[in-house]
Amino acid sequence: MAHLEIQLIAMLVAVACSIPGTFLVLRKMTMVTDAITHTILLGIVLGFLVVQNVHSPILSISAVAMGVVTVWAIEMFTKTKQLSSDAAIGIVFPFLFSLAILLISRYTSSIHLDIDSVLLGELAFAPFHRLRLFGVDIGPLSMYTMGAIVLVNLTLVLLFFKEIKLAIFSPEIAILFGFSPTLLFYGLMTSVSLTTVGAFEAVGAILVIAFIVGPPLSAYLLTTDLKRMIWLSIGIGIWNAIIGYQFAIIFDVSIAGSMAVSTGITFMVIFCVTPKHGLLSGIYIKRQQLQKLACQTILTHVYYYGQQQTRHTANGVVSIERYIQLRQHIVRRALQQLINEGKLQCIDGYYELTIHGYETMTDY
């Protein structure tokens, strides 16, 4: 039963993270999540210092607020135009995080506020916190919180799909139509912050980053349609949660860690084999382009030196490789291809264009 519950919580986290993650990946600001996942600790600590109770809901609220404050601080730094957004992120979150650690070690040492559990998480303990309604045990608490967050995220996306889409792909037109991309941006960031706070209790901050970035990035390689990308990343997120959990159970290791690893592996597989934007097709396309370039260079070279006195050396079977500034094996392969295509012929130890070759050259 506990197995099923953990599995279900992980899947809900995956779904909840995939939805805002898709938009973050498209807006190319995934590292902001990295910042948020760390600074919510400061929100928790500040909340705790105010209410002095680890179980108070104020802690979660102040954590969400701190996530938004982090984004705002980063934006403020970036707006001064004195530093790029990555530098702003790189300064803001360690600063706030240091502040959090400092406050923890100075003022809360009598209370158990565990940094490890915030950052690393322990999913295996999630089923121990039960939700009781009218005295009846109706399941683990985090299942319901995550379920609620999934619902909130889904509703927001369904309600504002058109607006978000426009604001992501064409902020200028969004302004023209009268809705502010800034408002939508902070809405998105609040959703990210909320999801992070909801999820870190169950799985830890690092896995939240993996779930927010990994599945949407995998989906990004597979499709160019926004709706399909969201559904795909939800699917991939669920798959990662299942595989990661099974792996963790078999080898008795950290559940959050192994889900992050399975996210990485799934991405790598998709990255390698995807037809349009993947590694293999990327290498293939680069090779094709190089080959084409080599063919054209050789044709031009042979054409030009064919009318010169030096054609015996410049176009010589052995010496031509010295004239073409490309790698030897590429030149050889290109020469072979040109001869096979009947554009080049070898006469008396040097290359010459065939009639077909001349026609191709004059076409250029």
Partner: protein, 380 residues
């Protein structure tokens, strides 16, 4: 005061402070290039990626000696860099997305391995997780020696390749055209970043390492436009905050060293961004106010001059409210204009009687030289 003297003569403090200062200097210098190349977060990603390397080395060698573990960290750190580079080169994925994915995946792998080590009997994993949060207090003389060697090596390498680094940082295409391979230099810079991140893990930990790389560079950038000065300043800032951070954490109880170093860096950054001359927020606000004031004054003078010319009479006076109302849109702007008008009167450019305004002779001369300048150089 006694406390201060006690700390300053303490051997452990010497070791830790020396280590932190050297580390701050080294990361400041190397980080400057990362900041300029807009790769500030790469240190963060690499520091996270070091964790599985440390765990794997421990699994293979069963030692906890730093040198071995750091070699493992170096290998996975470099592997992460290569992964990010491959993702960027062969697909439409941006560096930032690649970074966050690599960061979380490698860190997850590190966690998996650490928990796996826990399940092996006889293996004492305790102490390995010090790399996650860093414990500067545990620095030994040998660690500081390692940091010092790293610092000397990386500094001399940077001085040797100074020209190439400078060129690739600012003008990659030109560098390529004169035969310097940007790929090699970038890789070389990545290796340096990996090295310094790995060395810093023990002192400040995975999470705070990125601040050590980024903050001194950003702060130094505010004070200068020259690369040489910037790099040296970044080194100084890094070193100073390393030293101050250690001092503060030794003087006061319950303040960990890593966060204290990062906080003192943060304060330096804030001061630099707000107060630095010519790039600081205060300076630029002041400058733009002066500009706005000058613009408003010239506006008023020009207006009065035009009115003078239209009337063809030298000292015709005009009602200020009616003439300024046409030029402004809000009440606040009108007040601004009136304030400038008052200032101009004090300076002797305009003359006023019964709220009837006109240019003085000096004002007319000023506007005429301004207009002749505009004719000469063209309106900007």
């Amino acid at each position: 005061m006694n406390n201060l003297m006690y700390v300053l003569t303490d051997y452990t403090f010497h070791i830790v402070a020396l280590g932190a200062t050297l580390l701050g200097m080294m990361s400041g210098v190397i980080g400057s290039f990362a900041v300029l190349k807009k790769q500030s977060l790469i240190g963060d990603a690499i520091a996270h990626a070091a964790l599985p390397g440390i765990a794997i080395t421990f699994l293979l060698t069963q030692t906890k000696s730093n040198e071995f573990l750091l070699v493992g960290a170096l290998v996975t750190g470099l592997l992460a860099t290569v992964c990010m580079h491959t993702m960027k080169t062969y697909s439409k994925i941006e560096v930032e997305s690649a970074m966050s994915l690599i960061l979380s995946t490698f860190f997850g792998l590190g966690l998996v391995l650490l928990t796996y080590i826990q399940t092996i009997p006889n293996a004492h994993q305790a102490g390995l997780d010090r790399f996650i949060f860093g414990q500067a207090a545990t620095l030994l003389q040998s660690d500081v020696l390692l940091i010092a060697i790293m610092a000397i090596v990386s500094m001399s390498v940077i001085i040797l390749c100074w020209k190439e680094l400078k060129l690739v940082t600012f003008d990659t295409i030109f560098a390529q055209s004169i035969g310097i391979s940007p790929k090699t230099i970038s890789l070389f810079l990545s290796v340096l970043i990996v090295l310094v991140s790995i060395v810093g893990l023990q002192t400040v930990g995975v999470i705070l390492m990125s601040a050590l790389l980024v903050a001194p560079g950003v702060a130094a950038r505010q004070w200068t436009h020259k690369l040489e000065t910037m790099v040296i300043l970044a080194g100084i800032f890094g070193g100073v905050s390393g030293g101050i951070g250690t001092l503060v954490s030794s003087l006061m109880t319950k303040i960990p060293t890593g966060p204290s170093i990062v906080l003192s860096m943060g304060i330096i950054v804030l001061i630099s961004i707000v107060f630095a001359p010519s790039r600081g927020v205060v300076w630029r606000l002041h400058h733009s106010r002066i500009q706005q004031r000058r613009l408003a004054q010239e506006h008023i003078l020009g207006l009065l001059y035009e009115l003078l010319c239209q009337q063809q009479r030298v000292f015709n006076r005009h009602n200020v409210a009616s003439m300024l109302q046409m030029k402004v849109t809000t009440q606040a702007q009108l007040y601004d204009m009136l304030r400038e008008l008052e200032r101009l009167r004090k300076q002797g450019f305009v003359y006023c009687e019964n709220d009837q305004w006109t240019l003085t002779k000096r004002g007319v001369e000023y506007v005429e030289t301004l207009y002749s300048k505009e004719e000469q150089y063209g309106t900007p």
